[in-house]
């Protein structure tokens, strides 16, 4: 039976790019369907009625939603170039950090970049304090990741794994947010290992081919959230 793999995603979303990165790493052919998130297609709503979000992978007509769930499905279905380690403790570790990135890092990064100018007007001084708190929080979170990397080339060891793919938000999108908002978060002085990792990560072929154009992404976030109000 001919295999049909569809990916419903959005060009700028790190979550849908994760799915494409994993498929590319494993050499799996797929068809990408770009979703307009302001006008979701009937297909998307049919394949993900619960969350109505991208990405969704549809494999031979069967949908899988939630990017980290999709990554594990891809790894279990196509066994070449495994992205999860075999050892159960290492697997638990990779899952833990991927969840950490999604649940703690992203919202903190957003708050640090755009928190003070997102929503209603705040007094300048109060906004400054909130902003400093958010930047400090991001710094603490990035430090955990810096420590987790240790001396490894990638989070996955010698090759890119599930955690590296999940960390695409840190490896690429964070730099974009920083430039779009004018807020510095991932500095080489504080996070040399993470910076080295990010440079290596974006050079991996399967990753590089799936990064949205930087200028376009910066323009998009600048437009959406404003140019930032951090005092430098």
């Amino acid at each position: 039976m001919a295999e049909e793999v569809l990916v419903f995603g959005a060009w700028g979303s790190p979550f849908s790019r994760r799915v494409e990165m994993a498929l590319k790493l494993k050499g799996i052919e797929y068809k990408f369907i770009e979703e307009d998130l302001t006008n979701k297609s009937p297909s998307l709503l049919k394949y993900n009625p619960v969350h109505k979000k991208i990405p969704v992978l549809v494999h031979n007509g069967k949908p899988v939603a939630e990017s980290l769930v999709i990554l594990e499905y891809i790894d279990e279905t196509w066994k070449d170039h495994p992205i999860l380690p075999k050892d159960p403790y290492e697997r638990a570790n990779a899952r833990f950090w991927a969840k950490f990135i999604d649940e703690k890092c992203l919202s903190a990064i957003f708050k640090a970049c755009w928190g003070a100018c997102w929503g209603e007007e705040k007094e300048h001084e109060k906004a400054e304090i909130e902003h400093e708190k958010a930047v400090k929080e991001v710094s603490e979170l990035l430090q955990f990741l810096e420590n987790e990397l240790k001396e490894k080339r990638y989070f996955g060891g010698e090759t890119v794994g599930l955690l590296d793919i999940a960390a695409n938000t840190i490896g690429y999108w964070l730099g974009v947010f920083e430039e779009a908002s004018g807020v510095e978060l991932l500095t080489r002085e504080k996070f040399p290992k993470l910076c080295n990792w990010a440079n290596e990560f974006v050079c991996v072929t399967a990753i590089k081919e799936n990064l949205p154009p930087r200028d376009k992404l910066i323009a998009y976030f600048r437009n959406r959230f404003g140019a930032g109000n951090a005092s430098k």
Binding site: V50, H59, K62, V64, A65, E66, V69, I70, E72, Y73, E76, T77, P88, Y89, R91, A92, R95, F96, K99, F100, K104, F144
Partner: protein, 219 residues
């Protein structure tokens, strides 16, 4: 082979209960350490410095955190008995999706049911019921979310059952009236020893919630 297994937990946590059910399903002996969440131990802060939360499983000295990650770890290490996850990739993906749904949608809104009042509480009750109704539709006519067998999704949700009396009393509503299939499913799960021996009595949980409400100043 002697393995050392320690569980750092608190009796009333629906997340900790998940791990206890998994350990019971697999027949694993372990040391249980009760944590006082108002006065966290040095041990907890050392083994879970990121979140400082229970449950944490310590296996041969190495900590594993986050209840669903711990359950999958248990399933993968003790893979010779009582599987908790399905064996094929697609049903496994569905199981992970629905357990993740329980994590993202049930806990926060259920907490609002007993920590808020007035309009906020009414909105929380409505969302809680809607969430359970989504789960009811997913259950369909199967005995369990896992199909014919109790599995990962059942385990992720059943532990909330021990809190239902508390939700109903403080929310002034009947979960059975709104979601009869969920209650029927819960009673079916309770016929399993691993579940019945793990879930605390609903009245005991209610007493605990009464104390918590005083502490949060909800009254």
């Amino acid at each position: 082979m002697a393995y050392e297994v320690v569980l750092v937990d608190t009796w009333v946590s629906m997340f900790g209960m998940r791990v206890r059910i998994a350990l019971a399903e697999k027949g694993i002996k372990y040391e249980y350490k009760e944590e006082d969440l108002c006065n966290k131990s040095k041990l907890l802060l050392k083994i879970n410095p990121i979140y400082k939360k229970i449950p944490v499983l310590i296996h041969n000295g190495k900590p594993v955190c986050e209840s669903l990650i711990i359950v999958q770890y248990i399933d993968e290490v003790w893979n010779d008995r009582s599987p908790l996850m399905p064996s094929d990739p697609y049903p496994r993906a569905c199981a992970r999706f629905w357990a993740d749904f329980v994590d993202k949608r049930v806990y926060d809104v259920a907490k609002k049911v007993w920590t808020t009042k007035g309009e906020e509480q009414e909105a929380a009750k409505k969302e809680f019921i809607e969430t359970l109704q989504i789960l009811e539709r997913q259950l369909g006519d199967h005995p369990y979310f896992g199909g014919e067998r109790f599995g990962f999704v059942d385990l992720s949700l059943i532990t909330f059952y021990s809190w239902f009396y508390a939700y109903e009393t403080f929310g002034n509503f009947s979960i059975e009236a709104e979601c009869p299939k969920i209650i029927a499913w819960a009673k079916r799960c309770l016929q399993k020893d691993s579940v019945a021996n793990t879930l605390p009595d609903q009245k005991k949980v209610y007493e605990y919630v009464v104390q918590m409400r005083k502490r949060f100043g909800v009254e």
